[in-house]
Amino acid sequence: MKIIFPFLLLLLHPPLYSADFSYLKTLLKQAETNLLANDREWRILLHYQAEGNGYVSEVDDPKFFNAPNGKTNPSAELAATLRTFFVAPTQQCKFIARYEWLKQQLAFKASRLAPQPCPRFKEWLNELNPYGLSLIFPAAYLNNPSSMFGHTLLRIDQAKQNEQSRLLAHAINYAANTKEENGVTFAIKGIFGDYPGLFSIMPYYHKVKEYSNLENRDVWEYQLNFTPAEIQRLLKHVWELDKIYFEYYFFDENCAYHLLSLLEVARPSLDLRNKFSAWAIPAETVRAIVAIPGLLKKATFRPANLTKLRHNLDLLSSAEQNWVQKLATGKINAKDSQFTALDITTRIKILETAYDYLHYQHKKTDKTRSRRLRALLVARSKLPSTTSFSPPPVPPRPEHGHRSFRISAGWGRYGEQSYHSLQLRPAYHDLLDSDAGYKQGAQINFLNLNLQHPIGSSDLKLESLKILDIASLSSRDRFFQPLSWKINTGWERRQLDDNKRSLVYNTNGGVGFSYKPIAKALAYGFLEANLDIGGALRHDYAFGLGSSVGMFVDILPNWRLHLYAETQRFVLGHIQSLRDLGLEQRLNLSRNSAIRLQMKRHYFAEEKAISQIELNWQWYF
């Protein structure tokens, strides 16, 4: 009988349960009277944004709505949601954030709308063990367009968690779900919302592995002041977003933007998304979040493996570095009597660095190196555990760097012609801008517009419009031999003869080496290829090869010089040779303002030359 009983119950289930439709009617009326569908919280929970006279939800997945027209009709969705709770009570668990909010607003009577136990949700919440919330910001990663401007995610911190156990917390990540492996295709399709974006939860150690160990990106962790109740609300909403897709937009509805909406769910009084409706650069959203009074509890720097390794190598003497190299390359092994003759502290440092260095270089298939890695650790395990190295210095925080939208205005002279200059650069950072808070040697200019107004005329001329201009300068030394590279594309003016400067569409790419001759300087050399396209060119195009060398020097912390020489030989199409010799200087007046002075000598058309000088004031905001 005992066994049969539950089955009986199941069979009897439909007739036993009958929804209390008169109570539903009461609630619907109450919701209408209280204008609940217009409430900010309802709009946040359903991701409604004002559009025209009405509202449209940013969520594109129909599964997210209870009403067929839920995407565009907040009150229909509210009514349908209430109805669902009566007709299919388990949906209270599926839409638990909406349920909790409506329950609170309408003071549901348990006797007339029975609350559901929601065991799966509870188990999930229990596993998350939420106690705190952190915003995680891995630094920009130039080698992939999707993370060029950085990325943000949230971390649910656990009760009793500390810096030695935060790996076990969980990360909430929003990303485009695609198998696309071509970064360029990704970026282009991403601009047009061609990918579904989804939220996911994973252990934080997955993310640390990805950033610190594989991509060598430094990470900033911002612990935020949210109450446990606020975090619960956020998680209930995240639960509703399980397998719900948004159209992913690279620029506006991206990771950074959608995390803002989670924070608004947690605390509806925060108004964050409105500031980023057109454009959400992760670093700028971080700035906006930590600027909210009282929201930031603590900022922690998590250096990437490579950052630590470079720092540790710097702390070693050149003799010690020799040992590192010998051990890592297998020239000697750790049992060698010459090595064991060294004092213990020195051996610890050398062994650890040799391991880190070899591990960094290591390729999966290399068995010899695998054996060597293990041997280094065995040797290390026989020496005491005293910590040998100091942690790397903490760099300036990203939100303490310059803002990324830059406007420049000034005066210039090109040959005999004086002009006013006006430049707009919506994002993000160039090599002459102050590095504080940015990745050194990384440049991304996006939609950099440069206008000139020749004095004495009424024209406003387009001098250049660079769609994208990326450069990655990574310095080489005895331990690291990375390549530097650059690529840029956009319209610019070419001096084609004495008095003709025409717009061409130029694409330029280069590969080269960079070195740090001294700590405050970075020198580089590139081999380049150029393609110009334009009606003013003979055959409408020009293809050329060239090279450039230059050096950046920080004279003072706020004063940087850039000296350079370039030569381009166009060998196909419009044949000509161009050379430039230039000096640029930037002097910061404050975090968000600077003066830039550029001087250039331009050689063209068989050794003719013309000089240019330009002085600009720059504001970042």
């Binding site: 799966r120 188990e123 080698n143 992939n144 999707s146 993370s147 810096e163 030695q164 156990s165 935060r166 790996l167 990540n173 990303a175 485009a176 779900n177 696309e180 492996e181 071509n182 970064g183 990704f186 939220f199 996911s200 939860i201 994973m202 252990p203 150690y205 997955h206 592995k209 990805e210 160990n213 594989l214 991509e215 639960w239 977003l241 399980d242 397998k243 990771c255 391991y355 591990h359 960094y360 270089q361 290591h362 390729k363 999966k364 190196r369 695998s370 054996r371 890695l373 293990r374 650790l377 065995v378 290390r380 395990s381 005491p384 555990s385 990655s472 690291f480 990375p482 390549l483 590279w485």
Partner: protein, 164 residues
């Protein structure tokens, strides 16, 4: 032993795993080799892995999709959650064990519920027995966890945390 039975029982009755399991390669590679590091540093222009944006992580809010199906691996010497952590962090664990401390080793201790007062014993035991726990460069995560269990079982202070 009690713990093992309990875990197996929990895994068996969890309905979530089957409901939510999606094809997923994260963590299903229990048995991957410890010193098989990542690929080198050669700057890969427009490289193709980052942020999970390229779908190298499965997408889901629930835990069934965190790793492979919870009951997908039989004969684990430790609970699934610990095995998954060890498998994903084996390189770092090896490093921390040899050094005698570190974030990853500490996290493993937390997962194994090692109390604070016993942590230094735990760190010490894994350091002293490093060569035993990682006997060669081809060792698998499962072998590492088995040896770790043995080491702990032979250590009076740590015996109660072991799963063997």
């Amino acid at each position: 032993m009690k713990k093992v039975i309990l875990t197996v029982a929990t895994l068996a009755i969890l309905p979530t795993a089957s409901v939510l399991a999606k094809p997923n390669n994260v963590g299903c590679g229990i048995g991957s080799m410890v010193f098989e590091g990542k690929s080198g540093v050669a700057p890969q222009i427009l490289a193709a892995t980052t942020n999970g944006t390229f779908g190298n992580q499965t997408f889901g809010i629930t835990f069934g999709t965190l790793g492979c199906a919870k009951n997908g691996v039989v004969g684990l010497p430790v609970p699934h959650k610990i095995a998954l952590f060890a498998d994903q962090n084996l390189d770092k664990l090896a490093h921390d064990m040899a050094v005698g401390n570190g974030e990853t080793l500490n996290s493993l201790a937390v997962l194994m519920e090692v109390q604070d007062q016993d942590k230094s014993a735990f760190f010490n035991a894994t350091k002293i027995n490093f060569a035993k726990i990682f006997p060669d460069e081809n060792v698998t995560t499962i072998e590492v966890l088995k040896s770790l269990n043995n080491v702990m079982a032979n250590e009076p202070r740590l015996k109660r945390y072991s799963y063997s």
